[in-house]
Amino acid sequence: MDVNDLPLLELFTKLCDAGLPLGIEEYQLVLQAMQAGFGINDQAALKRLCETLWVKSSQEKKLFEDYFELVIANDAALPTAEILHTQSEQHKISPIIRYLILGIVGVTIGLGAGFFSQKPIEKLIPSQTSELIQTLIPSQTSKLIQTLIPIQTPIQDPILLPTTKPTTNPTAQPTTTRKPNSNPSPNPNHSDWLFWSFLLVTAMIFRWLVRRNNQQRIAESTSPQVTPITTNSSLAAKLTQTIEDEVQAVKAVLETTSRNEEILSSRLILTSEYLPVTERQMKQIWRYLRHPVREGPKIELDMAATIHQIGCQGLLLEPVFIPRRVNKSELLLLIDQDGSMVPFHSLSRRLAETALRGGRLGKSGIYYFHNCPIEYLYHDPHHQQAELITNIVTHICSNRTAVLIFSDAGAVRGRYSDERYELTQQFIAQMKQRVRYVAWLNPMPRKRWLGTTAAEIAHLVPMFEFSHQGLQDAIAVLRGRFANFERQII
């Protein structure tokens, strides 16, 4: 097995694009290991090798397996230059033949009509074919065709249009039909040679158009995605089931399916969940929310203080100990639930889960509300266990607590509500009596805040849209760093 023959690089770049943290070094490692004899026996060995070197978690493993299947295991689907070439050749030939046959059929019919009936074609067309046309063709094209009816050739069109997939070449039809239009309208009673030459011209124009159309198609098909649709859709299905990190999944699937309109539906399923920040990124960001304080039993030797003491006293009486540094940052996460926030439930759930796992919650915690906090906050998303806001403010919050509110603040519905603004204002004022840092995360993009309650609330609290940067900035605010927060908003 020759390394150069393997589409390893393609697999590697695909995995990089899908979000795996890989560098050139990782690629070199695989090559180095292969030189030493690892992973060269068969495909399974190669897979194990790449997996050991490139994959770092079970989620990534699923992603890797799918890509491996796609790029290496499914060798037939490999878009090597040769295969691409033959595929594009096939693309080139088959439609031409198809169009030619149709053209010939059309010509024969035309001839048949010209020779045998010897009747003016106007009679034939409006009565019989127009019905056919109207049933077969959407209204717009049928109009076009109706304008052509007086001409002798249109019989070609009703047959051609439906059979040659009208959707694939929307531009081709009008031009085909308009061209003959520019010709001087021939009299059906004219001599045969005029009829013949006209047919010939039409056939030539038609052929030219077919060729042009094909070139377009080839240009499209030579782009790297020529993998079979079946593999892609199965990949999409697998990913939706298995991968927890939807952002990566969406990215991966979008990348593989971006040129296949057939699986547009699966793309929609995936993107219906709005997850702009991956779970991993969230966890990483929570780590920044820290407030180290020396607290607890004195177990750490304070070298400087001990030496200072010896300096003062002339001898070591006892070493000086100090407590260890512990993270005392506390987070109060307030989540807007239901109503306009329903589409963001998975996002808020993930935010809550990562915050819990990050262990930054101290004795405060996660509370839920609907639209804006009025008198009570709830311990559960279903608004069952209520707790008085005053109670939370006085007993649970301390000046070390950071409050992060996750709500659309009315930006989803795009309306301004005086009541909502006032209630929020009251709540914020109440909070600020006790808490120093409050930040707001809005799942709607900033440009959608304009003219809604969100824009006004953003004047009260530093508000950020829910993105990687936005979340980082919000945490920076909670740590008391306002550097990234611009007070200019709107």
Partner: protein
């Protein structure tokens, strides 16, 4: 690379097993270990590429034991570093006994030290106590270093080890010594997935997920550990264990705590204390000594409900 050029490539096969009752250099009992071929390959890759191998997998599936198995087969010394929540990355390299030095200095001023002890004070390096990784770096022969449960420590811990694992060198700040690895140790790291490890750290590691042994392998393991046990009992016990495990998997999915190999071994040890027919009678459709296997109250309840349902 060094080994490859030198002609002697260390290779782990997973086939060389200690005899029952054989003891290691530190007097600890050695047990046979049955890795699957993928794990063997991952170990060999780590040895060859001189990169740490990060092992994940459900608790009790034998991540920690791998290190001693590798050390046994390759006839290398094992340096185990059991990480605690208070562990700092530097502890694995060295600990500087500043208090000891202070004490000695005090004693020296009051003339209570022997001349040898005074010589010791003059040498600052004598207060450096090497950690597992620090010791392994200074050996001519490669050593196997186990960093057990790395995710127990603070989130900064793995990142603090990056340079040492990558460059295989470190500085002793107190003495200014520069320690460079003479032979790259074979580093095996285990993680229970309690905390996410930093990307930069992951990037430098090889990763292997230790799968739970198959049923056949479980029988092999039990037979190897308890060679005299009757075949019927082994089969029956493994059957019951496997059913329980599958049920747990059904109920809890991939994430929950399930019965593991180490629990099976303990449980079987209890079972074989009884005569074969008695033990088989106990096993008949039930799980005797469930406390050995089921560690959580809801697991117990589920089991009780189930066994009642069977009757």
């Amino acid at each position: 690379m060094v080994q490859a050029v030198g002609g002697k490539l260390l290779e782990y096969t997973g086939k060389v097993q200690p005899q029952l009752g054989e003891r290691g250099a530190n007097g600890q009992l050695l047990y046979p270990y049955f890795p699957n071929p993928e794990l063997v390959e991952a170990v060999n890759l780590a040895i060859y590429l001189e990169r740490p191998l990060l092992l994940k997998g459900e608790p009790g599936c034998g991540k920690t034991l791998l290190a001693s198995a590798v050390a046994y087969e390759l006839d290398l010394k094992l340096e185990a570093w059991y990480v605690k929540s208070t562990s700092r990355a530097r502890d694995g390299l060295y600990i500087y006994d500043a208090v000891g030095r202070l004490r000695d200095a005090q004693l020296a001023t009051s003339n209570r030290l022997t001349p040898e002890q005074i010589l010791r004070i003059d040498d600052p390096t004598s207060y450096v106590r090497w950690g597992p990784l620090g010791r392994a770096f200074q050996q001519q022969q490669r050593r196997v270093v186990l960093i057990d449960e790395i995710d127990k420590a603070d989130i900064d811990f793995p990142n603090d080890l990056l340079l040492e694992l990558d460059q295989k060198q470190f500085f002793v700040e107190e003495t200014g010594q520069e320690i460079e690895a003479k032979a790259a140790p074979i580093v095996l790291i285990t993680s229970n997935d309690e905390k996410d490890l930093p990307d930069a750290f992951l990037r430098r590691c090889l990763f292997h997920y230790v799968e739970f042994p198959s049923r056949e392998r479980l029988i092999e393991i039990v037979n190897a550990l308890f060679p005299t046990s009757p075949e019927a009992l082994v089969k029956q016990a493994i059957d019951s264990f496997w059913r329980l495990r599958e049920k747990m998997q059904e109920d809890k999915g991939e994430a929950g705590k399930k019965v593991s190999t180490s629990e099976l071994i303990d449980w079987f040890r209890v079972l074989r204390r009884y005569p074969e027919d008695e033990a088989l009678a106990k096993l008949d459709g039930k799980i005797p000594y469930a406390g050995v296997l089921l560690k959580r109250w809801d697991d117990h309840l589920r089991y009780l409900r189930q066994s009642r349902g069977c009757e």
